[in-house]
Amino acid sequence: MLRSMLAATFLFSALGAQAAQTVVPQKSRIGFTFSQMNTPADGLFKNYTAAIDFDPAKPESAKAQIVIDLASIDVGGPDGNAEAKKKAWFDVASNPKGTFTATSVKALGGGKFETKGKLTIKGISRDVVGQMSAKQQGAELILEGSVPLLRLNYKLGDGAWADTGTVADEVTVKYKLVLTGKAGK
């Protein structure tokens, strides 16, 4: 009972946030950089939903929930994309979604912020800390940031793929979210 109430409250606040600010998908991007044999590479998730309520003047009341459709991964080629969806990597058959829920946003000055949140992939939740910049451009608020993480913490490519000399453990999520509308209510 308590649980479903919490869920309902959460859903409500997430929807509320979405009503306040909307993400412009054509201008936004949720990608990541990783490294293969010390050579950087770049990938992205094409489909996601983001419910964000963020006023740069009031970072402490920021809310964000991003749900990523993991099967929309693109690492630059059909073979790699097929592999990334398999059990050893994202296992999208059992865990189709990845979620990020912001827990706190702190101003660092100069339009920069520290972002904290919970990232859940493959049923594993971890606290992650990242950096973000916010820029108002006309009617649009542009949030750009990065969140470093370790792929093996989420069992991404564990087992036979665990060799970090081939695919490094460090992965950096890089996002650009363009929002329209007013934050807060």
């Binding site: 010390n38 590479a41 992205l44 630059g76 036979a160 793929w161 695919v167």
Partner: protein, 186 residues
């Protein structure tokens, strides 16, 4: 271009010619091996290595092309044997020009392609080359198609080029091939 044409290819020009030939052959063999290497944990490292080498070979072809062109401007290259029929001379020169064009365009499209895929070139494992364009899946797909066509075109031109050289050596029995392989001089 130089007003006076040299009567031969010198050692530097011959060296650049054969080094380029070797690297183009290597680029083909490496990418074919890459295609035949499964994307599996045991062979992934090899697969990455093969495509990296493919890019290094191709970029080196591009750099050698620039060097050859610059040197061609300085020293010039010998004229096609004037005793040959005009049509044959035109064909030989035409194929040479196509080869030059492809040695420029094919690696450049490869570079664009790998940029569009979001995989920069780490040249010789030490220098990360700049991306020519930002990652874009559709663009990568189109560029891959163009890269493939240009590679097919290059293969065709090389076949014509080699066929011509062999015809001069075995049928005409003239000195054309020996200009690039001086030890064949008879």
């Amino acid at each position: 271009m130089k007003s006076t044409q040299p009567s031969n290819y010198n050692a530097l020009q011959i060296g650049l010619h054969w080094l380029t030939a070797l690297l183009i052959l290597a680029a083909f063999i490496l990418v074919w091996s890459f295609d035949n290497t499964p994307l599996a944990p045991a062979t992934f490292k090899l697969k990455l290595q093969l495509i990296a080498w493919h890019k290094w070979a191709g970029i080196t072809v591009l750099m050698l092309f620039a060097l050859r062109m610059a040197y061609k401007l300085v020293r010039g290259t010998p004229a096609i044997d004037p005793n040959l029929p005009a049509l044959q001379r035109k064909m030989a020169l035409g194929v040479h020009h196509l080869l030059y064009l492809l040695m420029l365009a094919l690696p450049l499209v490869g570079w664009l392609l790998t940029s569009a895929k979001g995989y920069p070139v780490m040249l010789y494992g030490i220098w990360q080359m700049p991306d020519l364009i930002s990652p874009n899946e559709e663009m990568a797909h189109t560029l891959k198609e163009i890269h493939e066509w240009l590679a097919n075109g290059l293969m065709l031109c090389i076949a014509l080029h080699v066929a011509g050289a062999l015809k001069h050596y075995f049928i005409d029995k003239d000195g054309t091939l020996a200009r690039m392989l001086p030890f064949l001089k008879r």
